[in-house]
Symmetry: C2
Subunit: 218 residues, 2 copies
Amino acid sequence: MNYSVSEENYIKAIFHLQGEGETVTTNALAAELKTRPASVTDMLKKLKTKKLVNYQPYHGFRLSPEGKKTALGIIRRHRLWEYFLSEKLKFEWNEVHEVAEHLEHVSSRKLIDKLEEYLGYPKFDPHGDPIPDSSGKMESSPQTMLSQLEPTQTGVVIQVSNQSPALLELLSARKIGIGTKIELLRKFAFDGSVEIRIGRAAPFIISEQLASNLFIRK
Amino acid sequence: MNYSVSEENYIKAIFHLQGEGETVTTNALAAELKTRPASVTDMLKKLKTKKLVNYQPYHGFRLSPEGKKTALGIIRRHRLWEYFLSEKLKFEWNEVHEVAEHLEHVSSRKLIDKLEEYLGYPKFDPHGDPIPDSSGKMESSPQTMLSQLEPTQTGVVIQVSNQSPALLELLSARKIGIGTKIELLRKFAFDGSVEIRIGRAAPFIISEQLASNLFIRK
DNA sequence: AATTTTTTTTAGATTTGTCTAAATTTTATT
DNA sequence: AATAAAATTTAGACAAATCTAAAAAAAATT
């Protein structure tokens, strides 16, 4: 019922990699966790005996129902702390992830439930990712890619596709964050780049790659 | 500069045991940490190479200046979290300690400084213990034992001498906590017990032992 | 279908923190 | 001062989590 920090990190990483239906490979998980494939094999044997993964040697793995439930619990803790850091402690949007990586492993059930209550039962973290409730359910944010907006439509950023430092750095420089209202002015067919405007500031152009990593709600 | 959870627990325990001028013994520390004397010896060798303790085999030890600074940092984190849990998340007074034991090991400097700011720079935790500031300084609460009050004097509980579950349980049953206003009515010379009254409730008698573990401000 | 390449697992070592049992040192007692 | 008792350290073992290097299995290529 209670897992080590290391086990929790493996469970969380498998959850992120497995998505809807994919099986996860040893190498992929090793890359994700910046560890060695041999270490992954070792840990998977342990997680298998604990019935948290369905693992067949040489043929990849996915989380068991129990493993998935555990993963959602860890993600719940992570995202609630991110919300707390951002909303209450006024951390910058791109600083919360690293600190939450540590806080998420404090596994008091009561702590997390009371924290959630204190925060007012938020449904999304500062990156726009949904926060699972105490039973593991979460909203699937109805989202559109910015690049799919039509010219002169306006939307609010509700999510970014991932939290790589490179992306966060660029967003920070562009002054784009969750909640930012963006108006799409033109689309350039040549390279897919789009011209946007934020508030009354001067319009500017962002790459197709960036535009398709920003999810918005109209 | 950054220590493991285990190292931090040793440092904190040594700090509590060494008080003003005492040298700490291997057995005392083993008892405090619920571990074996041999384990303590092992860890002390490590802490010595890291220059956190002054340790002479067979002759006890105390924290070095660097070790003391580290201890105060850990205690600062612990007490700020206790304050947060009690004040913001509405934990019961006697529940905060255990959760804070885990939170205290999340060592982001920025997290703690921002938490302190958010909490309004509290000077005492819910047990009445002073919270070190970011440089390690803390107030030494000017305190009197309840048992030293004279009849009909009144005081406010500002600290309890320790946080043993047994004491906290008794205080909880007696409905006594930090901030409770107590009027001392009589002292019984035979066994040192004292009759007290809280607000307008019926007076009752507490043991000398309990009375001398409650620190009050007049 | 055979061979090469890639992926994954195994075998054995390492680090951290713990333990038990035995040896050593210090302290207390006669 | 000698001896007994208590405290402490050493020696050697173990579990968790990691690693490197080698072996084995699967996938890709010829």
